[in-house]
Structures are given as structure tokens and as C-alpha cells.
């Protein structure tokens, strides 16, 4: 059995060498990252240490020029669980963003399972993404949507827009009790402007993850300081939630290796007065290009009217390596 494996390994290595000398470009790239952290999480009733994989991932992306100025583009990305090998329900790989599209001077038409334009518009002002302080733990709108069909415009004078349609495929996406079978049962869009160190975006959802939502995002960089701010309003289809809130973040680069980070978000439900707050503090220490160590502290508070506040805190140490 070992000989079979050895032969396969040698054969594949030789294959690698021959590919290495092949003429012409190969237009696929494998990329990914491993992000692991040792975390102490305390939700008030349970205080435990954990090893987390933090959306470590493996992806393939690329393009092929199919005519002059016309490209087929694709991306397939999968989550991997560095901690226990189980991304979800015993699966070794869990689908993340997967899309295919056609790109030309007119823009890009693309489809797949992918982050919605609203989520993309956030533009990583969330400095604790995939950790306990992830903005998705407090705010709606951070959706990866199945069956998305989208158009992304070219960037013109700093402006770009993405509009996406999401067929319901028989699900009741608007909560009216009827199956939805149309092409535009859900809609997500974003309009952004970016120039030099400034980024501004307006984005919204209609009947996506049972929410109607609007958000405004701004990001500005001044030397070593990167500031982010977001304002959001959303309500669900059942009329039981009508939220509005804001989010601010700041990252300051102390030197070529060290970055200090802080962010705070608060959202309140006008329907029942419930409120959620999230505060995160942390620091990154760059070891090399693509490799860093990080520490963080997060306090997520859930305040429900008539009930005691629910407080969840976490602190941890981790590393990330991108490839």
C-alpha cells in the first residue's frame, strides 16, 4: 500500500515538474489562509478555553481571456477547520464564496453563492472579522447568499455599483405565506465611491435573510490611521424587528509591525427597545508579509427590555498566515 502511495507521490511530483516547464501562463491561483486563536470565552454561565479556526480557508480563482477584452472569471473558496477538521456537520470543507462570471468593458455579470453586495460594501471596516467581535454577531446584513445573480459596473470616476437578484426558488423569502418563485424575490445593491484614501458606500437589501436593510459606510486613511464608520437601519419581514445602529472602528499603525485596533458597535430595536453593543480592542504584530500574531478582547452585551443584560466576553491570542 505504501508503494502505491509512494508511486503516486513521485508521479505527481514529476507531473508538477513538467507543468513547471510548460509554455504560457496558467491562469489559476490557489490562495487561502489559516487563522487560529486560543480563546477564553465567558458568557456568564460558562467560562471555557477554546481553539478556534476563525474561517480559515482555501480557494482557487482565476480568469481566462475568451475574446479580446472579454474574460471568464471564477472563484471557488472553501472554509477549512484548522482546529478539529469539522467546518459544519462533520464536513471537512464548507462552501464559502463561489462564483463564475463574464467580464468586459461593460462590467461583470456573475452568479453563484456569494457575499451580498451589502456585505461586500462593508469593505472590512470590521477589524475583528471572523473573531468573537465580528460585526455579524451584532448587525444584520452580513449575508452570504445562495442563487445570487449580479452585475458589477466598471469603476467610472471613482463610482462603482453592484446590483444582485436572488430568486427565492420556492422559499417564502418575504414572509407573506406564499412561495416565492420569481427572479427578483430578493435584491441587494451597493453604490460606492472611492478615491485616494476615501471610500464611501450606500448599500441595501430587500427581502434578503428576511430583512429589508440600508447601510452607509465610510472609510478614510490618514497616514497610519484607518477610520471606519457605518450607519444601518433594518427591519424584518414579520414586523418584529425595526433596528437602527452605528459602528465605528479605528486601526493605528504604530510602526511597520504593530497595529492597534479598536471598534464599537451599537444597534437598538425600536420595536421592543432591545439593544446590542459590541466593543473590541486588539493588536496585530506582523511577522512577515502575510503572517501576523494578534491579541484581542471583546465584550458583546445583549440588553433585552425586562431582562437582565446578557454579557459575553472573550480574549485570546492567535496567528494568521495568508498564502
Amino acid at each position: 500500500m505504501n508503494k502505491v502511495l509512494l508511486s503516486a507521490a513521485v508521479a505527481s511530483t514529476l507531473g508538477m515538474a513538467s507543468y513547471g516547464f510548460a509554455d504560457g501562463p496558467i491562469d489559476s491561483t490557489i490562495y487561502g489562509k489559516v487563522n487560529i486563536s486560543v480563546v477564553n470565552a465567558d458568557n456568564g454561565s460558562t467560562d471555557q478555553w477554546k481553539l478556534n479556526s476563525n474561517a480559515s480557508r482555501l480557494g482557487v480563482k482565476g480568469k481566462t481571456e475568451i475574446a479580446d477584452g472579454l474574460y471568464a472569471v471564477y472563484k471557488a473558496e472553501f472554509e477549512i477547520a484548522v482546529d478539529d477538521g469539522d467546518t459544519k456537520n462533520g464536513q471537512t470543507f464548507n462552501q464559502r464564496n463561489i462564483m463564475a462570471g463574464i467580464r468586459g468593458n461593460f462590467g461583470t455579470v456573475w452568479a453563484g453563492k456569494h457575499d451580498s453586495p451589502t456585505k461586500l460594501a462593508q469593505n472590512k471596516i470590521d477589524l475583528f472579522n471572523d473573531l468573537e467581535g465580528d460585526i455579524k454577531n451584532t448587525f444584520e446584513g452580513e449575508n452570504r447568499v445562495s442563487n445570487i445573480v449580479a452585475y458589477t459596473s466598471p469603476k467610472i470616476n471613482g463610482f462603482a455599483t453592484t446590483v444582485a437578484m436572488i430568486p427565492g426558488e420556492g422559499a417564502d423569502v418575504d414572509g407573506d405565506g406564499n412561495d416565492d418563485t420569481g427572479l427578483t424575490d430578493g435584491i441587494s445593491y451597493s453604490v460606492s465611491y472611492s478615491k485616494d484614501n476615501l471610500y464611501i458606500a450606500v448599500a441595501g437589501d430587500q427581502d434578503v435573510d428576511s430583512q429589508d436593510l440600508m447601510r452607509i459606510v465610510a472609510q478614510y486613511k490618514i497616514d497610519g490611521l484607518k477610520l471606519g464608520v457605518m450607519y444601518q437601519q433594518n427591519e424584518d419581514n414579520l414586523g418584529t424587528k425595526d433596528e437602527s445602529g452605528y459602528f465605528v472602528s479605528a486601526a493605528y499603525k504604530l510602526d511597520s509591525k504593530t497595529t492597534l485596533k479598536a471598534q464599537y458597535g451599537s444597534i437598538e430595536d425600536d420595536a421592543d427597545g432591545d439593544k446590542e453593543d459590541s466593543l473590541s480592542l486588539g493588536a496585530d504584530y506582523k511577522l512577515a508579509k502575510g503572517t501576523k500574531l494578534f491579541v484581542f478582547y471583546t465584550d458583546n452585551t445583549d440588553s433585552s427590555v425586562g431582562e437582565a443584560d446578557s454579557d459575553a466576553t472573550a480574549y485570546g491570542l492567535g496567528m494568521e498566515h495568508k498564502f
Binding site: A8, G15, P25, T29, E77
Partner: protein, 161 residues
Amino acid sequence: MTNALSSAKLICITSLLLCANVFGACDFDTDDADSPNFMDRIIDCEKQPKSNSNPSKSVSPGTTELYGDGTVDPISGMAERPVAAPGSMNHSPGKAFAARQSYSLRPNAKFEESVTIAIQRLHLKMAHYCAEGWKMESQWTEADRRQEGDYYLHYRFRCAG
């Protein structure tokens, strides 16, 4: 035996995927895949010069593109890639390659983004693929449209025959 064959298949597939990575590598950041302009990054990261748009930028058929970055020590600013490491040297007489390296002329650019380091990285690549020597056929610079002041330095070279 079935398990062995499955494992062998997995190794083969993994190796083929790794092959794709060898020549597909570029300065694409993993998190760019989730950014609003992820499509631009897929296209621009591996942008190939057009043969009919500007003769000086053309990459002739049979030229292998080597777009990608080496690792740079953040303290010394020197590329770390061990060119003389065992098994790292290649030489294909007469074979043509095109390499590209980003650099920046922005006032706040770091040393590791300087044209000096870009040139050094390109020479490391040339030495890596043409260990016995090479001839420089052309060089050109193109602007990086994503950031004013950023450029790509291109070298087209051929291994000594």
C-alpha cells in the same frame, strides 16, 4: 486497496492544484477575495500585456510569465528567497520568461516597496529560472491602476543557450 487508490488520487489532485499555483502566484491578498472590488483583483492581479496594444509590452508566444512576489524581510528589506537552496535552481537553455514586480513611487512608500527591491526580486527570479545566465530582452513599466504612484516593472528575459 481502495483507500490507497483514494489517497493516491488525492495526492495527484493536490499536486496538480499546486502546479497551478506555481505560475499563478501574484500579489493577491487572501482578503481581497471578499473585498468590494474582488473582480478587479482577479483580473488585474494576473493582467497580461496585450500583444497588439503596445509592441514594447508584448509577451511573445512561448514566453512563460512568472508574476509573483518573493518574501521580503520587513527589517532588512531584503528578499529572503534562498536562490541557492538545494533543488531551487533551474536552467532551460533558450527558454523565454516574463517576470513582473510591483513597486511604489509614493512619498510614503516603504523601503520594501522601492524600485531597488523590485529589481533585486526580479534578479532573484531570473537567477532562479536561468541559473547559468540569461539575456535581458526587454523591460517596461506599467502603472498600477488601483493606486496612483504604484507601478509594475516588467522584465522579459531568455536563458542562455
